[in-house]
Amino acid sequence: MAKKEYAFYPGCSSQTKASSSNYLVSVNSMCKTLDIKLTQIPDWNCCGASIGYAEGGELPRHVLNARNFALAEQHLSGQDVVATCAACWLGARETKERLGASAQLLADTNEALKEAGLSYKGEAEIRHMVEVLIEDLGYEELAKPVVKPLAGLKIAGYVGCQTNRPFGIAGESFENPKYLDKLIETVGAEAVPYDQKVTCCGGALAFSEPEKSQKQIRDIVESAYDHGADMIVTPCPLCQANVEIYQGEVNKRFGTKFNIPVAYYSQLLTVAYGGSAKDAALDGQVIRPTKLEELASKK
């Protein structure tokens, strides 16, 4: 089928060598297989994230996102903007909605953008990579390239917050979204049911309020374990980072012995599509996803 092209907005954490560079690598491999062409928005900037509110206020955050849109409209006219990071997607989408709803805000934004020689028209759509997979390709298409079904792999799909609320993936519910489980099943793995699918990991407060956040993380990981998961899979870099890298801290704090790998859906697909551990950037995991690695190394 025809090549799909998108303006790509990787976001700060997904850029090379950043905290979720493994996400970026695996997304690239995945898209290669799926014949999706991603062109980075030239000179894109940070979305401001949610936490930006404290100092940034309202308009500056919209202006940041508007700038990315403006650049996309300018250089990649006609293409949807695709973000892989939940926060980037959410921030951008919020901006688009608010500017669409308020002529005042739109005018103010453009007044500010002029300082950078840009203007926002509101043409480009903002999509999350997951939306592209589900809506533009569909589960059937995603199943076709599978050469290595991840049989026997039990996975807890951890959707988290920001790809789920307040916008979410069309047709999914806030309390029990099923798309991630469907993706997991699409690649032949088993999606284990568990009750922390959409629990908040603490988000940015993992840094500022480690104690409180790590209780959240514990609940999530514990439930995944209790329901027999071999690993956790998520569509959100912050979820991935928090739930994976803080397990050590959680163990210290709560005397647990957690050591469950946390990967991205893109890494699953990459492996299922026959990609190597390197293609899937499995070396980028702090907790080694051994089962997935084995599957990847299988010829």
Binding site: S21, G52, E58, D108
Partner: protein, 207 residues
Amino acid sequence: MSEANTQAVEKYRNNFLKEVEERVEEGEWVKMCMQCGVCSGSCPFGPHWAHPPQEIFMMIRAGKRDEVLTSDSMWMCTSCYNCIVRCPRKLPITHIMHGLANYAHRLGLAPKGQPTREFGKMFWNNLVATGRVNELKLSLSLYFKDGFSQGIKNAMAMKDVGLGMLKAKRLNPFELFSPHGCKDRKGIHAMLKKAREIEDRRKHLTS
């Protein structure tokens, strides 16, 4: 008490609700709350809120300005958006909480050293510098926010995390010297400066 705060007190006298409606992001929604409490019950950090959102809305209507603006409750928001999707009156609660926190911060009323306030500030300044977040600098500045020695402690405490990230090539020491960043930093700075000006104008804020 900042000059901005005195000016605000002058301007709005005892009408805190009006102050919030004019100056706080999405503040005009506060009046629509019907006190069902679903937001308060939906927050993952709920137990840590001295005053949960619905109570804060009531306090605003009751004119309890200082209690609200000096509270650290709003800073408990993890931006999980549970409250927003459940609110039967469709109040954008997450944004109102952000707005209140930001406003309290701007007026200098927010609790000193409130960790999320501090982190939020660093995060913003960090991203503004180059247009993109520099995670290493960010985490270091976080550790060292309370001075050097405390910073070392913090860093040591978190060293496992750091090392793990290093091993996984997800924390790049060279970021310190040749960081990521946008080319048009000048434009970005100008644009953000302008945005701030406009926002202050709109909200009759001068500081």
